[in-house]
Amino acid sequence: MHMSELSFAYYPGCSGLGTSKEYERSTRAVCKALFVKLVDVPDWSCCGSTPAHTVDHVLSAALSARNLAKVEAMSHETVLTPCPSCLTNLRTANHRMEKPEFRERANKLLDAPFKGAVEAKSILQALREDVGLKMIAASTIKPLKGLKVAPYYGCIMNRPPELMKFDDSENPMAMDDILTAMGAEVVPFPLKTECCGGSFGVARRDVVAELSGRLLSVAKRAGAEAMVTACPLCQMNLDLRQGQAASAKQETFDFPVFYFTQLMGLALGVSEAELGFDKLCVSPGRVLDAIAAAGRVAERESTPGSQA
Amino acid sequence: MPVLAGKELRIVGFLCNWCSYGGADTAGVGRFTQPTDLRIVRVPCSGRIDPLFIVKTLLGGADGVLVSGCHPRDCHYASGNFYARRRLEVLKGMLPIMGIDPGRFEYTWVSASEGQRWQHVVTTFTEQIHALGASPVKAVLGAYPGAAPSKGGDSAAA
């Protein structure tokens, strides 16, 4: 069931080189396994993230447009990125630069101007819509049996809907659908799009502790054993800062926080090493063992003669 | 009075009484400001508009003609605007043959409740005509010699 290969320009985003190495790796592994070709944007630079748009919208657009222009030069219409923050900036720049007057101002800051004909899409959207659930389910080798997860989309993967044009802005389902298709049990998580505190971790850890803490305790109450994210910043806040959140909430969590691509990779039979589970701060060991155990049971039942 | 030199161009509108004329009224009641070029001729139904009226108006030296009726299926006379649409489509195709820029004629549908839409229609059409500039017809023919009855008499009962 080999489908014609999809090919996209690919914009990894800065955190992929550091704090979200495992997201970066697992993304590439999953795309490879699903025959999605990722062509890196040559000499890509930072989109400016939150700090840029808090300073000025033209500067912010220019920082993103430098990369969009490179995508144009690659003659690709669509660029994929795993990071919602990069995605928002790329899409916003693209959208605002549809206005000639604004485009001119932004291009003034650039060596190579951006003409404005590139669509930025999240890896999640590409997997959900371009690859599709059928293909994903069919390619699942090790179903994620015995895994109860709370998918958390973060605040800007789908919002504002007019700009992001993907999934339901109040109750997104893309990750739910993918993980379910791969055999995981998804618990209904009501705060799918609530903010985790974003980039305030360093300057105002109290903000992140409170907000991420709330997400973790609600996910826990919902009966999940782990959270699944699609955002480097969310993952870092929920995983690396889980201790800070715990003390803020006076709760204990010990709650693994995966990137959805890591779990997909697992189901697709990619080696755990390639998926960088060792990079997670809260050890996923217990959860991974549970999946493996459930898998063995399933196998035994399916092998003939073992019924006796 | 003569068209205000430089300021205005001569734009004639044929509007059906029940929808578009009412829509223009609604725009007025809502004080939706519009360009002053347009002069509205009121007819009972867009189905009453003979393509010949439009041709004569344009050959008479008007710079633009705007026709507006009820939305399809919403005609006060059930099917008048369907006849209108058919006739006006044909006309649009024939204007170039007569050497008239088809951009000088548009037809649209505006209901009695759509004051804002009417404002938009008038504004954009007026801009469109100003973009095309004054009609060359006048220069060529001079002002239209006068509309001899195309057919029929003043009163049929004659």
Binding site: C14, S15, L17, G18, T19, K21, D43, W44, S45, C46, G48, S49, T50, P51, A52, H53, T54, V55, D56, H57, V58, L59, A62, L63, R66, K108, L109, L110, D111, C155, I156, R159, P160, P161, S169, E170, T193, E194, C195, G197, G198, S199, F200, G201, V202, A203, R204, R205, D206, V207, E210, L211, L240, R241, G243, Q244, D278, K279, C281 | -
Partner: protein, 187 residues
């Protein structure tokens, strides 16, 4: 509380500027409070976002630019997404931040410093060098103990590289920022 004299304190230029830069019509706001209701950051705001909108309508520049709220807005887009009048509230908050910077109001120094350090890093290397960013931030703020508790968690994971990965077009990046400043942009 003192009387707000509208004749004296309504700053028309400010209102006009906010509307122009945000491309939003402030008078669309009818104060339903939906933005405040859904704002996750409200608990650290000194003025709730719906009141920021009200103050903006009322041209109360001083009060707004002195507030902490817009510095603590995470641009999570709840307000923009749920506004019954389709106002891009998050964008208004962004624009207010821009103004505060330009006019030298900084109610949340640490936040600003972090963002500045971030952009410094981008300017220098083309991509964010996380380690350098934090160090830079610590030096500027003197907050030596920032996230020290995290270091032991992070280090062994080999996530934080100790050297930047500069891009080829670094001088191109520098130019972007230079041109921005030359056009009167302030960072």
């Amino acid at each position: 509380m003192d009387v707000v004299n509208m004749n004296a304190s309504y700053d028309a230029d400010f209102v006009a500027k906010v509307q122009e830069e945000s491309e939003q019509n402030l008078s669309l706001c009818y104060q339903c409070g939906n933005c405040t209701a859904g704002c996750p950051l409200n608990f650290v705001y000194d003025i709730p976002v719906s009141q920021i909108m009200r103050l903006a309508q009322a041209g109360q520049k001083e009060k707004i630019l002195r507030s902490h709220s817009m510095w603590l807005c995470a641009t999570c887009e709840s307000c923009t997404t749920r506004c019954p009048n389709d106002i891009d509230v998050a964008r208004v908050m962004d624009v207010l931040r821009h103004m505060a910077r330009r006019e030298g109001y900084v109610s949340e120094k640490a936040v600003k410093t972090f963002w500045d350090s971030f952009l410094d890093s981008v300017r220098k290397h083309g991509r964010v060098f996380e380690m350098g960013l934090v160090v830079n931030y610590v030096l500027k703020t003197g907050r030596v103990w920032t996230d020290m508790d995290l270091a032991p968690k992070l280090m062994p994971k080999g996530k934080l590289s100790l050297t930047p990965h500069p891009i080829k077009g670094t001088e191109e990046m520098e130019k972007i920022f230079k041109r921005f400043e030359e056009q009167g942009g302030c960072i």
